[in-house]
Symmetry: C2
Subunit: 219 residues, 2 copies
DNA sequence: AAATATTTTTAGATTAGTCTAAAAATATTT
DNA sequence: AAATATTTTTAGACTAATCTAAAAATATTT
């Protein structure tokens, strides 16, 4: 059996591997998990002996096939529970993550299958992140950071790069929610800020930082 | 903070206290929790130091006000999750308990409030057991074991005394499910077995043991 | 009341997961 | 190439939760 703690380490390694193609350093895991590096060394040895990761002293860790399946399934469970919390129980998108962190560890394949069916086999979670199917396949979607669109281009908000509470709160404030239609009205050369129309009426100018963290599907 | 293990001990003590009005013995807890008695001694000392139970060496344990609130809330969560699994995800009543054992430990009052609302504030779980409200109040229901009904009496199945898989499987087999209307046709003096009509047409004779474990609300 | 049986606690060990401080290995700068 | 800085591992300790075996306390039988 695999413990919740072990699962969390596998997930951390999985997530760090998305950004980075090289083996994941002990320090990087420590930072992600908010633990001491020495704790990580202990844990990667254990995970390695269970053949869930490849680990070489001083050279970092990568998931094995087995480890990858577990991590991917954890992501699947996390995101399906986020859908449930958002769609069914009407939590807001900034509230769902913390509860899903707990729910993702519930052990029952049947439960996840039935939850998936109940939710209508969603392909994306409330943050626009793709939900892998049972075999770990993700839907890929053509999307661009808002900062890469040109003036006059139109599209729909489909995802976000950052998931911090403060970013989510900002977006909520200005109604920059998933599914909103936007049009790029003007790009200011001076600081790369972007003036957009949100929905039918609202006009708002966002900084380059915001524009960089908002994913748009072009119409 | 209180750990899942501590919660499970509190629940065990709570449940044993329902049947028994005296302090709960270390051995009784050990049996319920399927652990060594020495492990229980360690744990009751810890729970006592946290003021969740009253414990005196060699004299047993009882819940404090604080411990009782936690245990009761755990029961509430367990039963609400069972409702969700049964009503919303269409699990059968013999499947829900094991998954609810895990779900009951999810920490979020907001989640339970919303789940309660979503389910329509149910008063009883899929086994007919009452669901305490936020303040720990249970609905009391006038019910009798089938074995206490007389010939010709009619009623509705509203609960069960035993919760074992084999008992649930038996009841399912003969359609003796919650909400079914029954009528006592004949009580056999010889072995106290009871011939009943189930619903409109079915006729079945149950042993005294079965009759004793089925709760009926008289019409 | 003494002997015997049962229950409960203590003693001592183990495992998972964590920490701090020191040592060792690797990377960077001079 | 040597000195310095950074990263990683080791050493040793701690807590929660568990166990077995032995000791102590309590209950039952004779
Ligand atoms: Mn999340
Ligand atoms: Mn998400
Ligand atoms: Mn149950
Ligand atoms: Mn139940």
């Amino acid at each position: 059996m695999i413990s919740q703690t072990e699962e969390n380490y596998l997930k951390a390694i999985y997530q760090l591997s998305q950004k980075n193609d090289t083996p994941i350093s002990t320090n990087a895991i420590a930072k992600q998990m908010q633990t001491a590096a020495s704790s990580v060394t202990d844990m990667v040895k254990r995970l390695s002996s269970k053949e869930l990761i490849h680990y070489q002293s001083h050279k970092g860790s990568t998931l094995t096939e087995k480890g990858n399946i577990i991590a991917c399934n954890l992501i699947r469970k996390h995101r399906l529970w986020e859908c449930f919390l958002f769609d069914t129980l009407n939590f807001t998108w900034d509230e769902v993550h913390d509860i899903a962190e707990q729910l993702e560890h519930i052990q029952s394949n049947e439960l996840i299958d039935r939850l998936d069916r109940f939710l209508g086999y969603p392909k994306f979670d409330p943050h626009g992140d793709p939900i892998p199917d049972k075999d770990g396949n993700f839907v890929v979607r053509e999307q661009y950071p808002l900062s890469e669109l040109s003036e006059k281009e139109k599209g729909t908000i489909v995802g976000i790069r950052e998931h911090t509470k403060s970013f989510l709160a900002y977006l909520e404030q200005f109604n920059l929610l998933l599914g909103q239609h936007i049009e790029v009205l003007k790009i200011f050369n001076y600081d790369q800020s972007v003036k957009i129309r949100i929905g039918e009426h609202e006009i708002h100018t966002v900084t380059q930082k915001i524009a960089n963290n908002l994913f748009i599907k072009k119409d």
